[in-house]
Amino acid sequence: MTAAPLASQITSDAPPYGAGMELLTFRCGGRAFAVDIMAVREIRSWSAPTPLPHAPPYMRGMVNLRGSVLPVMDLAMRLGAPRTEDNPRNVIIVIQQGSRVHGLLVEAVSDIVHPVPDQLQDVPKVASEDETGMAERLFVVDDAMVQILSMERVLPRLPGMAEEGVQ
């Protein structure tokens, strides 16, 4: 996965990627990531998810989000890192993508930043593994790098999910 298909999606009359964008940055598996704040519905404190049978390991289960059932994904595991330890300080970022609402279990949220276009870089093409394929851009300040995650890629595909779990 590279950023090339994504770049082609950006039509010329659309504002350049990142213009006026706000990012929510957070830590996960010891690394820094960010998501477009427009995709974030809310941030919740940790509560123990109810596990789902025969689900992929990164699906930690479900929590009660004010009366509806919110699936929670261990983002670190989704990105190939070890399982996030149960810790009351963990937070769940509630992501809304279309009609789907998902929770991302992360260690902590850090900041809200307004990147300027100069600070944004394409993901280098060397990265072909699943893990890095989840980033759509890199946000670089000084020598620190934050991966801006593509929620489309992070959230599991719907129809295949259950089957994936069985195997």
Partner: protein, 734 residues
């Protein structure tokens, strides 16, 4: 044009209801209820569809419903005798009309060819009573250049809104005089958005109208300026109240005062015609009259008012409401967007959860059950339950419409197979959740087709077997505590178990040498791969897989059972929850997880001490249930939360056994760490975010706010290799 789309959508929605009314009415006719009300209801349904179709230029629908309407008019006028052949023709026509509506919904023009039998009926009808065409005076226009084709408008003045007053079709008595009103619209009338039709309607409230078009001053087509109104009317108004004053009539034109020219003259009564008996007149066909405004005669309520004082003042009160709605009285209803109701259902679900949480925290905080808070909570609980029931009742629908749809399926399937089949229905007023009703349509269709195709014998075979030549399929619904049981029974030859068994062996579903009990053989029908669905189109309805049916029923938290007697017939009973929102469940704990097992699937519970458990392999045990050993499975293991381990008796804990019996599988035992409670839970679907999750039918939220899974015992059995229960499934699973 989204607003137009909306109107269109509403029209189609109404069409569905109208088609139901139509079919319902025709079935009543078939059953011998041939009173005027029923005929009127049927006529009205077709008429309204035609009217709406006209508004949307659905030409196929218009032309077909027009012919249909003509035929029905014959029934109304009595020129066509209602007999079985006629009703059968009409039923087929209603099927066709339904098809055309379905086509129109998809935005296609259907095939509007009029079937011969309907055409013949319509011809008989119009021969009997010369048809009264729509008439705004336009019919009398001299023929125009052929470049300009006049589409007759179904202006249908007085029924479009449903609430408009019904046309008083009283005898044409001229006694009492009438007002002759000349009405000439000025250009501004139209440019300011006025509509003469409304004025006409308003006038109509005052009495019977006989409008005539003044055609003499119409210009030739080439001189016609479309922006200039050129039509004028003379309207004869026969007031229903004898003391109608000029001022009252003028008030109708109040808003159009400077936009039209009105002249009014009061005409003394002409020499009164000999009055025909009023009641006979109301029933008899209307005399054809080009100036008659009641072009599409609305059904007149028989004797709507006490007889008027004098025969001369015949007109019944014009304000009598139109006899709208289906037979059986009016009930005030409103149309509500289903989304709104669903939102309400969800909120009530929250309320139930919230109330449960509150009760728990009150207990946790040490407030005794005698405290004011606790008793207040009891009241709240009662109220919550009442609200819940009421909200569920909003979503509840009688199964009538569903059953009605099946009559068509029976007709078609019987025709296709050349069998003679009658459908009997019972318990049509049984109510069930709307979604369930909708989602039952396909499974029921398949099952009925299967019954007719495989169950009911040909007339010759039936007579040979000493049965009546006409086969019967019975569809019944009844409520049994909190479930609804729907049964499909045929009086055919029953399941041919030898054939079923041979077929299953042939398809490799069971080993050839395995002895099977009759019930086990019956269950083979539900195996995926048993039917030939893949090779035969769904449309023909032959051999559609019962596994598909079962899947659909299971998706509704329902179960299905079979009972067959060779030579006598076969019954499929479907048991369904009243609602998809609430489930009676047993809350159990296993591997620190709380889960809900649907109460409907639980046959029995036992404590570990009392259970008779026998190990049959290093990792597996069986347990005795009513003199039979059934497989034993640990719930957490089945769900994949714990590694397989030998289950043994540990008397020191709360472990218990739930014996569950999924509908189509054999019973088995589930070991749980503890049984916590038995209560109603609110079902939260997982579908939106997850798709299907094995072993789980849905989730719920418990009183403490934790999410708990609702176990699907059938799915659990199929996913678990600990359960090799039903022989029939071995081949399938391996």
């Amino acid at each position: 044009m989204s607003s137009m789309d909306e109107i269109r959508a509403t029209f189609f929605e109404e069409c569905t209801e109208l088609l139901e009314q139509l079919e319902g009415g025709l079935l009543r006719l078939e059953a011998g209820e041939q009173d005027a009300d029923t005929v009127d209801a049927v006529f009205r349904a077709v008429h309204s569809i035609k009217g709406g179709a006209g508004a949307f230029h659905l030409t196929a629908l218009i032309s077909f419903s027009h012919e249909f309407e003509t035929a029905l008019d014959g029934l109304r006028s009595g020129s066509v005798e209602i007999d079985a052949v006629v009703v059968a023709t009409l039923l087929r026509a209603s099927d066709r009309l339904g098809d055309l509506v379905a086509k129109a919904i998809e935005g296609e023009e259907g095939d509007a060819t009029i079937p011969d039998d309907l055409a013949e009926l319509a011809a008989r009808a119009s021969a009997g009573s010369a048809e009264e065409d729509v008439d705004f005076g336009l019919a009398d226009l001299p023929p125009l250049d052929d470049a300009f084709e006049v589409t007759p408008l179904d202006l249908n003045m007085f029924e479009e809104d449903g609430d408009a007053p019904d046309a008083p079709t009283a005898p044409r008595s001229k006694a009492g005089g009438y007002w002759e009103i000349q009405f000439e619209p000025l250009p501004d009338l139209f440019s300011s958005g006025n509509e003469p039709l409304y004025l006409f309607r308003a006038l109509h409230v005052m009495g019977r109208l006989e409008p005539r078009l003044i055609e003499s001053d119409l210009p030739p087509l080439e001189e016609l300026d479309p922006s200039q109104p050129r039509v004028r009317w003379i309207i004869d108004l026969y007031p229903s109240a004898p003391d109608l004053t000029e001022t009252e009539i003028e008030s109708v034109f109040e808003f159009a005062q400077d936009l039209c020219v009105i002249t009014m003259t009061y005409r003394e009564p002409e020499v009164p015609d000999p009055d025909p008996a009023p009641s006979a007149e109301a029933e008899a066909p209307e005399t054809p009259d080009s100036a008659e405004l009641t072009a599409d005669p609305e059904p007149t309520p028989p004797a709507p008012e006490p007889p008027p004082q004098r025969p001369a003042a015949q007109d019944s009160k014009p304000a009598a409401p139109a006899p709208a709605g289906p037979k059986g009285g009016l009930s005030a209803t409103i149309r509500v967007d289903l989304d709104r109701i669903d939102r309400l259902v969800n909120l009530v679900g929250e309320l139930v959860i919230c109330q449960a949480m509150l009760s728990q925290s009150v207990l946790k905080d040490g407030l005794g059950s005698n405290s004011d808070s606790a008793s207040g909570l009891d009241d709240l609980q009662q109220l919550t339950r009442d609200i819940q029931d009421s909200v569920m009742a909003i979503r509840a629908q009688p199964v009538r419409s569903l059953f009605q749809r099946m009559t068509r399926i029976v007709r078609e399937a019987a025709q296709m197979t050349g069998k003679d089949v009658r459908l009997e229905t019972e318990g049509e007023s049984t109510e069930i959740d709307k979604t369930v009703v909708e989602r039952l349509s396909d499974p029921l269709t398949h099952m009925i087709r299967n019954s007719i195709d495989h169950g009911v014998e040909s007339p010759a075979d039936r007579i040979a077997a000493g049965k009546p030549a006409t086969g019967t399929v019975r569809l019944s619904a009844r409520q049994q505590s909190d479930r609804v049981v729907i049964e499909i029974t045929d009086d055919g030859k029953g399941i041919d178990r030898e054939r079923v068994r041979a077929r299953a062996i042939e398809r490799g579903l069971i080993p050839a040498d395995r002895p099977l009990e009759p019930a086990e053989i019956d269950r083979l029908l539900f195996l995926p791969g048993f039917s030939t669905a893949a090779s035969i189109s769904n449309l023909s309805g032959r051999g559609v897989g019962m596994d598909v049916v079962q899947r659909a029923i299971r998706d509704l938290n329902g179960t299905i059972a079979t009972h067959s007697e060779p030579g006598k017939g076969c019954t499929f009973s479907i048991s369904l929850p009243l609602t998809l929102a609430i489930l009676d469940g047993m809350i159990v704990r296993s591997a620190q997880q709380r889960m809900v097992v649907p109460l409907a699937a639980i046959v029995e519970t036992q404590t570990m001490d009392s259970a008779r458990i026998e190990p049959i392999s290093p990792m597996r045990s069986v347990v005795m249930l009513q003199d039979r050993f059934v497989p034993l499975l640990d719930l957490a293991e089945g769900m994949g939360f714990a590694a397989p381990a030998q289950i043994d008796r540990r008397a020191d804990d709360d472990s218990a056994l739930l014996f569950v019996k999924p509908d189509d599988l054999d019973a088995y035992a589930l070991r749980v760490d503890a049984i916590e409670a038995q209560r109603q839970v609110v079902i939260k679907g997982l579908g939106d975010s997850f798709g299907r999750v094995p072993c789980v039918s849905a989730a719920t939220i418990l009183g403490d706010g934790q999410v708990a899974l609702i176990v699907d015992p059938g799915g659990l059995a199929l996913a678990s290799d600990a359960i090799r229960g039903p022989a029939a499934f071995e081949g399938h699973l391996s």
